[in-house]
Amino acid sequence: MERKVLLAPLDPVHDIGLKMIKRGLEESGLETRLLPPDTPPEEIIRIALDEKFNTLLLSRTLGYGVAELLARFVDLADAAGLRENVKIGIGGMAIRPELAAELGFDAGFGPGTTVEEAVAFVEGREYNPEETIIKKEKTDFTAPYKYTYGNQTMGNLLDKVSQQIISWVGNKTSPGVERAKLREELWDYQSFLKMQENQEFLKKYPELCDQVPKDYYLQGKIHPKTRELTKEELENYQSFITEIKERMKVKKLQHRRKAPVIWNQYGTGCPFMDIGHIKVSESWGADGVVHFDPSWGARTEGFLGGDLTHQEDGTVITPNNLARIYQSLEKSTLWQVRAHRGLNTPETVVLAGKIGADFTKINVCYGSLAAGTDPARLTVDGFYAIKYAAQYKMPFDIVTNEELTGVPAYKAFAGMLIMADLAIKLGARPILQPLFAYSPEMMIGGQMEDNYIDFNAAKIYALRSIIDAPIWPGAPIGFLTQTEDRVQSSMSTSLHALLATALGVDAISIASADEAYSGGPISVPSKIDTLRGVEESFRFLGNAGIKPTAKAEQWQKEIIDGIEGVLKQVAAKGDFVQSLYDGLLGTREEGAYPGRAGRNTVEEI
């Protein structure tokens, strides 16, 4: 049967709500007619009868005299026989469903009513709010990419450098690689969950560790800045997380576009506080969360065990901590465990992969030039880490944080592309992570004096012209543009998110509004600030765009030329590791210092 809906505002002026519902009804294929405001009730009833409408939707925004007005309308409708064939709904700011029911309307819609709810009433079906609950699914945003080179000269140079690395690593190992092998061969996640750990693993593992983990396994001593969570805390946590998970709903920040995936970092030091932060991030729309571990963890050979809380930034990687965090995640939440910079790089990938991480992070160049690990050591460890990332089907980003010490973008990008090419050859799925940052190069060179758009756009254009690969600017976007003012900080993050979206990138990492505050831990509300801001920026942009100035193209070309120059030098040197020590991918003057952690620990097999 054809359904015709008559819409009539019982107000002198207000009819916006009905106009919105009218559009929803028409999109559902229903015939509608909207009467002008202040049409007399008698006239509304006459039109409904004469033109054989099936449904009448009335609205009332003004509160005064509403009960009397509606009661009179119902009387008139009854007297005219309208109720026999026409169902009548009433909605608006002044309406409460109880009042509508009391007066005899077929339905009453109060403030907050959705268009879908009104459409369901007209179509005579029960409104099911479940249908409007957002359903999120994990997505592998690397899947559409083919990793082919648009710039073949660059592809050929990268091939040469990758072959250097593969050949150099061929007969080498390190304590990190050996621990990763042990973890891979003898440690099983399901057995761990059943508290049936492999005794052979526990016997061999401490031998490959530094003193602190050794003391933990052999003498039960824990790191001085950590403590074991108590039995009482663990029991209460279980009740807490069960209750929270029961009422969890996830939110989507993307408006019309599917991308970018939004990542939030956590790493308060405590797995319980982390989980509190994660549940907030998920609720306010983050698609993925990144595990941030303490800096001393990256300089220590081996992982600790147990349920450890830490009094400073960064949550200690232990199987217990990672497993607890993983189990707290919503099914749709992507999880990244960073492995990129330290002495536990390959083992982090194995452990995270076994527990269930979706992504990891590896960059030999950044880790050895700006994060303190010896280049030779990290080249061996990074190589195996990439192989494990491929084995566990974990795409990984290659962050170019060496830009933050002053290394020019083109040099950091050369290093990133070397890692990406090596990863492709080893069967992994790398993600390019250029910084969207007001880096020292920008501060000194003045490229961002006018705007933050052109140089960031140039980076994306340059990378896209070189290789067909996913791009995930970070980390976080807008780094060094944010101040301690939470309005400015949220705004800057949101505008960078808007730019990243306009440039069509696949993912972004966003900071909290506390990004620039160094006096204490990041607070939960400050995470919500930026998630809300980013949501609003997506709503603002929709499918529209941002137009960079001509500078973007000029800088794109300069970046490409710069990368090519660096790759030529590294390829000509014939030794990737020596290139790192010699500053081809970042000099000491630029703030890149080859790290010392793990020096002289690489062994030939």
Binding site: S239, F240, M273, T309, Q311, E484, G519, G520, S523, P525
Partner: protein, 80 residues
């Protein structure tokens, strides 16, 4: 009050405008105010002094990482 504060996940921020003559004075007032409100672990996240005074965001940490979190326990006690 103390029981209520257990429900705060980590920190409580106070945002306001303080009429003062300088940034230093505004900072002093803000921190003293937090102390008078009973917050021992307080800091000034942000201050911007212009014209008649200072826009501030002061923060008190109710739970820092590694603490025993009230909300972890009160959730169970006050729960279903």
């Amino acid at each position: 009050m103390a029981k209520l504060m257990e429900k705060v996940m980590d920190a409580l921020d106070v945002e306001t405008f303080i009429v003062c003559d300088s940034e230093d004075e505004g900072k002093g007032i803000a921190l003293e105010m937090m102390k008078n409100l009973g917050f021992d672990d307080a800091d000034l996240v942000f201050i911007e002094f212009i014209g008649p005074g200072a826009r501030i965001r002061a923060r008190a940490y109710l739970h820092r990482s590694g603490d025993k979190y009230g909300w972890l326990f009160s959730s169970r006690e006050g729960g279903k």
